[in-house]
Subunit: 192 residues, 2 copies
DNA sequence: ATTCGATCCTAGCACCGCTAGACAATCAAG
DNA sequence: CTTGATTGTCTAGCGGTGCTAGGATCGAAT
């Protein structure tokens, strides 16, 4: 029994190694640089080993996305719980979200830009994704305003943040006025 | 002289053919399916011909993006000019924008998701891109609100629309309530 | 000690973006 | 009309990609 357990443990460790290595490589050099060959070389195994853990590159991206979703949820909750009052909480949420996107561009891409083969906004959506959305909802529900469905409001607010995050990072928006745009968004969208 | 002119004309026609074919192929089967081989086959020339018109695939994407920017500007202006009152104009703009993104997903990707080698939000930004932004600005400036820079407001509003467009199309947002989200966005962001 | 199954790697497939160099068509000069 | 240079296009190939078939190796159980 113990032998099998050890093997299982080692296998799980190697899977973790694959995911964290893929994430590192993606953050360092972009997802384009995350090829199965380079990834295999970094973990010091041959390519086919990757395919004994994941169906393909997509699933590896998906694994990084799930890891990122959990972290993002934590970051958002930490920021909102440290703020006083609805207005300050929403502002803290927005900053935390954009900060996460800016600090972990590759993870953010895996989550919302690339195809990681994950289901979104459905019953079979993985728990970390649901929870990340819940983290937003918890804070944003209180500023949705009368007669506005909290879920719908959260989706809309989230989409606005997502737009800011992606357009800024892709060089479509000048980065200088980022803070002002966030402030404008919070001021107008949140009902306090 | 006439011979050279004819050649120049034919060459320009072929360049148009490349761009429209790339666009067609991308809309039909996605940008992943737009390979230089397939594109060359469709225009009935060999691969190297593509490289006598464009530096590489990136520039072809960029050409599609510029074409799309011009069309989007036209669509937005048509929609806004047909509406009465600031509130209705902004709503029409939002609908026209999202409609364009939904109807021309590949073009939208070329514009705002993919790397077409174009400069954004700078002095050397190509004219069609500047003009597309100007089309948004013309309408949105009148609802920016007191003390809010029109450019900054336009950027923020645009980012929100962009977030809705991308998240909806990527399956990150349920498509049913799209109209309600747009309405919410217009109601809250636009000062009428 | 020997089987046998799990584990891993080598080698290779079809495809990608891109380019060098051969070849044919066209034009200007003698 | 015949050259020679120039232009245009194609074939073939490079190094890379994601992914997989099949053989080698190694450890556990008999």
């Amino acid at each position: 029994m113990s032998v099998q357990e050890r093997k299982q443990r080692e296998r799980a460790e190697r899977e973790r190694l694959i995911v964290t290595t893929a994430r590192e490589l993606a953050e360092q050099q972009g997802w384009d640089a995350v090829t199965t060959r380079r990834l295999a070389e970094r973990i010091e195994y041959s390519q086919p080993v990757l395919y004994s853990h994941f169906r393909g590159k997509r699933e590896i991206i998906g694994a990084v996305a799930l890891e990122g979703a959990a972290e993002m949820a934590t970051a958002v909750r930490a920021a909102t719980s440290a703020a006083d009052g609805p207005r300050a909480r929403v502002a803290a949420l927005a900053r935390a979200y954009l900060d996460f996107a800016a600090r972990n561009p590759a993870v953010y891409d895996a989550l919302f830009q690339l195809d990681g083969g994950l289901a979104y906004a459905q019953e079979d959506t993985p728990e970390p994704l649901k929870d990340a959305f819940a983290a937003l909802l918890e804070c944003l529900a209180e500023v949705a305003g009368d007669g506005v469905h909290p879920g719908l409001f959260t989706e809309t607010f989230w989409a606005s943040l997502h737009g800011l995050a992606t357009l800024t990072r892709a060089g479509r928006l000048p980065p200088e006025d980022a803070a002002q745009r966030v402030e404008l968004l919070v001021d107008r969208l949140a009902v306090v």
